[in-house]
């Protein structure tokens, strides 16, 4: 498990998502990467019923990189509480359906090919919500390191080289306060949640 940075890639006007993904795939393959299967990150959100007081949101995420785990993040006003559990947590959520209702129309996922290039692992995912294409997320992981601070420069250079100079590369909001802490899989999930929330807010394609 290394440090992962998630970057949104804006789809230019008059271009389709598949075109951009093909372009990026060609670029990464030209660098010498090999494709290692597919990946999938999905997110489903549940709202608590009004009888329980203030409305809370529970996000349930799955990441194919941690196939045995279910990540859940409870948004309660100011603080986010996360729980990592095994696959049975999904069944538990079904049992809680009288307290938490699923917002089916906001089920969002990012999936696509997964590449390995030396110590880097690159995933090019197309984000879809209800089969509607919403944008492109690129995940880059540098596996030998667990401190974001130590590897951020390297990751930025790699991303800049891959995405081209027109894309601004900034450290993710979630990582800013955690640059000196040990990176864990839940940090990746938080990054996905950030982006997914942004995608849900806009209609149509996300520009920035």
């Amino acid at each position: 498990m290394g440090v992962t940075v998630l970057q949104q890639y804006p789809v230019p006007e008059n271009k389709t998502g598949t075109y951009v993904i093909e372009l990026l795939t060609k670029r990464i393959l030209a660098l010498g990467a090999t494709q290692q299967g597919q990946f999938l990150v999905d997110c489903e959100s549940y709202l608590s019923l009004p009888q329980m007081g203030t409305t809370k949101t529970v996000h349930i995420l799955h990441n194919s990189e941690q196939p045995a785990s279910v990540f859940s993040i409870l948004e309660s006003g100011t603080k986010n509480i996360h729980v990592i559990a095994d696959g049975l947590f999904d069944l538990l959520m079904m049992k809680l359906s009288q307290h938490y209702t699923s917002k089916k129309q906001t089920k969002i996922e990012s999936k696509g090919p997964r590449f390995e290039l030396g110590d880097f692992c690159v995933k090019i995912g197309s984000v879809t919500m209800n089969q509607n294409f919403k944008g492109i997320l690129i995940e880059v992981e540098y596996r030998p390191c667990v401190m974001a601070n130590a590897v951020w420069g390297l990751l930025r250079e790699f991303l800049q080289g891959l995405l081209g100079p027109t894309i601004p590369v900034q450290p993710p909001q979630h990582l800013l306060s955690r640059m000196n802490e040990i990176y864990t899989p839940i940090d990746t999930v938080y990054q996905y949640l950030e982006h997914f929330s942004a995608y849900r807010k806009v209609t149509g394609l996300r520009i920035s």
């Binding site: 941690q66 045995a68 990592i84 095994d86 049975l88």
Partner: protein
């Protein structure tokens, strides 16, 4: 009756067995529901029979109408597959018809307009009471005779048993029941000797049958050894495939050129013929234990064979007949065979080749590895039944603790893949065999070096505690009498295919299974030790170390290691000792003196001061010197050179 005995009768508890799966699990039929039960019972009712008993009047009166409903009911029986109540309905309908006809007949009879019923004088049965009494008496007498004969036989056998001190069947059965699983199936007693309850998943069943021993045999056995323990009244019958003796033979041998010869010589692994004593008069406990052992060996071998086929090793494992061949180290094979001798196989085993070779094979049989194999399978059984605590109430039972925690700890796919890998029994036993060879070879190397090299001494300590795949030896190199001055120690970890040497300077060297490498390393260590030791001795003697080099660039190229040297000066500074050590040649010692005591001025060297430049080195013949060992000689030499005279 006053002293009546209450007898309670109840249906057997067990449901009917619907199916027995391959792993021996019995699937029971679900008990019938009330309606199903009613339908089943209703189908069983024989309406035609009840006709006979209760409707006699009608039958007599209307015999001409009778055959018809009977035929109908038979037809209905054949059609019953259509609908469960079909036959019942038909019979009810027939009954209704008959009742209607009866009602009509009664009406006609009651009206007395058309028909008058006259009582008919019944035919006189010849009623001779004495004949009946005699008949009954005779019948009762016959029944009583049968019962009495039975009682007499029982009493006689019981008396005979007590008189002759014969063992009691039921006591034996009780003892058997305490140690083995038994159950009664209809008229027979059947037991199970498989390891299934202990966690085995082997498909073969281990069913045996318990019967009573015939009396003649018991008598015979008792008369044969009157002093010995009483023979059992029990007779256990194990299935023929579990009879006899079996064991797993494990054999490590040098690879032979032809596979055929390897199999031939090892197929002759001899079994001890049968158990001591004939099959019949063997005690049931021993018999069952032997059968259980056969079953266990079969399971072990079946598992190993399956693994050998599945594993893709660089040199593929071979499974031929009841033998598995695996390559442990280049040139060394591990042969695992299943030897099962159950009386009948004796005929087809080749008698001519088996005897002499069998004896040789038996001596090579590796009991330690055989025991490890047994242990490994028992561990598998144990882990099948003992799941790590705590069991989550909702989670699946069976995965390891690590796997249980994998979800909450967010293990990634590589870790999960890692967890799913499980070492098979064959791999484990091959590793143990490899380690066994590595250990034996390194022992041999160390011992031969210790024999070859007398100076310095090489002492190796093997750790008493080791695992089946790892052990550790500490090697001390020191000279007799100088062990306090200098000693070199190194530790060698013997693994499965590699050696790990940790030297005195903290360097770690990984060596392969080629033991020449270990040999070379130890020789290098010996010469290194000599150089450091002579420096230490010099320091004790007050000599000064001028120069030392462990890797000399001069001289011929060494086959192993490098030549090393050092230069020592005496306390007064007028003598020097140079030592050169080449692993292939040995140790050479040179001395030089400057200034020489006597000086004669010549034309070239006119002043005595030039003598301080140092003189020519002269070699010393070490083997001519006195002293127990090299260090002792050097000490004497230094003492001699230090003295002012």
């Amino acid at each position: 009756m006053a002293n009546s005995v209450n007898i309670s009768i109840e249906a057997p508890i067990e449901n009917q067995i619907q199916e027995i799966t391959y792993d021996g699990q019995e699937i029971y039929q679900a008990p019938l529901s009330m309606s199903e039960n009613l339908a089943r019972l209703a189908q069983k009712i024989d309406f035609s029979k009840s006709d006979d008993e209760f409707c006699n009047i009608k039958k007599e009166g209307e015999s001409n109408t009778d055959p018809k409903p009977d035929d109908d009911s038979k037809d209905a029986n054949y059609q019953s597959s259509l609908w469960p109540w079909e036959s019942v309905r038909n019979k009810l309908r027939n009954a209704l018809t008959e009742v209607c006809v009866l009602a009509d007949v009664l009406n006609i009879a009651k009206e007395k307009r058309y028909m008058v019923l006259d009582p008919v004088q019944p035919e006189q049965v010849d009623n001779r009471p004495m004949v009946q009494v005699y008949g009954r008496k005779k019948a009762l007498g016959a029944a009583a005779a049968v019962l009495l004969a039975g009682v007499e036989r029982l009493r006689a056998s019981e008396n005979m048993r007590i008189n002759r001190n014969m063992p009691d069947f039921h006591i034996d059965l009780l003892r058997l029941r305490q140690n083995w699983r038994l159950k009664k199936v209809s008229n027979t007693i059947v037991g199970d000797l498989s390891y299934r309850t202990a966690g085995s998943k082997f498909s073969q069943t281990g069913v045996f049958e318990v019967t009573k021993a015939p009396e003649e045999q018991m008598m015979q056995a008792m008369s044969m050894n009157a002093a010995g323990p009483a023979p059992s009244a029990l007779r256990v019958t194990v299935p023929p495939e579990l009879q006899g003796v079996a064991f797993i033979s494990v054999l490590c041998q040098k690879e032979q050129e032809e596979v055929v010869t390897a199999t031939l010589s090892s197929s002759a692994l001899s079994c001890p013929g049968t158990l001591p004593g004939d099959g019949a008069d063997l005690h049931w406990q021993q018999k069952l234990e032997a059968a259980q052992n056969v079953l266990f060996c079969k399971e072990l071998f079946a598992r190993l064979a399956a693994e050998a086929v599945q594993l893709d090793a660089s040199i593929p494992h071979m499974v031929v007949g009841n033998q598995i061949m695996a390559t442990v180290l280049p040139g060394i094979q591990l042969l695992i065979g299943l030897c099962h001798n159950n009386g009948q196989n004796n005929a087809n085993a080749n008698p001519e080749g088996s005897r002499p070779e069998g004896a040789a094979g038996k001596s090579d049989h590796d009991h330690v590895l055989e025991h490890s194999l047994h242990q490994l399978l028992r561990a598998v059984h144990h882990s099948n039944t003992h799941h790590p605590f705590p069991h989550p109430a909702t989670g699946p039972l069976g995965p390891s603790k690590r796997r249980c925690l994998a979800g909450p700890m967010a293990a990634d796919r590589y870790e999960l893949l890692d967890m799913s890998k499980e070492q098979s029994l064959l791999e484990q036993i091959i590793q143990q065999a490899q380690h066994f060879f590595m250990r034996r070879r390194s022992e041999y190397v160390l011992d031969t070096i210790a024999k070859e090299v007398k100076d310095p001494l090489i002492v190796s300590h093997w750790n008493a505690l080791n695992s089946p795949t790892q052990s550790c030896v500490k090697i001390n190199i020191m000279a007799y009498g100088y062990d306090a001055v200098c000693r070199t120690s190194l530790v060698v970890h013997v693994g499965e295919k590699t050696l790990k040497c940790i030297c005195r300077d903290g360097k770690v060297r990984h060596l392969s299974y080629e033991l020449q490498e270990l040999r070379d390393l130890i020789y290098c260590q010996i010469y290194q030790h000599q150089m450091t030791a002579v420096q230490a001795v010099g320091r004790c003697m007050g000599w000064q170390l001028l120069a030392s080099s462990s890797h000399l660039g001069s001289g011929p190229v060494e086959p192993l290691g490098n030549a090393s040297s050092c230069l020592l000066a005496s306390p007064t500074g007028d003598r020097m000792i140079a030592i050169r050590c080449e692993p292939s040649v040995g140790i050479q010692v040179f001395i030089a003196q400057s200034p020489r005591k006597d000086f004669f001025a010549s034309e070239l060297v006119q002043d005595k001061k030039w003598e301080n430049l140092g003189g020519a080195f002269k070699e010393i013949k070490l083997d001519k010197m006195e002293g127990k060992n090299f260090l002792n000689k050097m000490e004497l030499l230094m003492a001699c050179l230090s003295s002012p005279t």
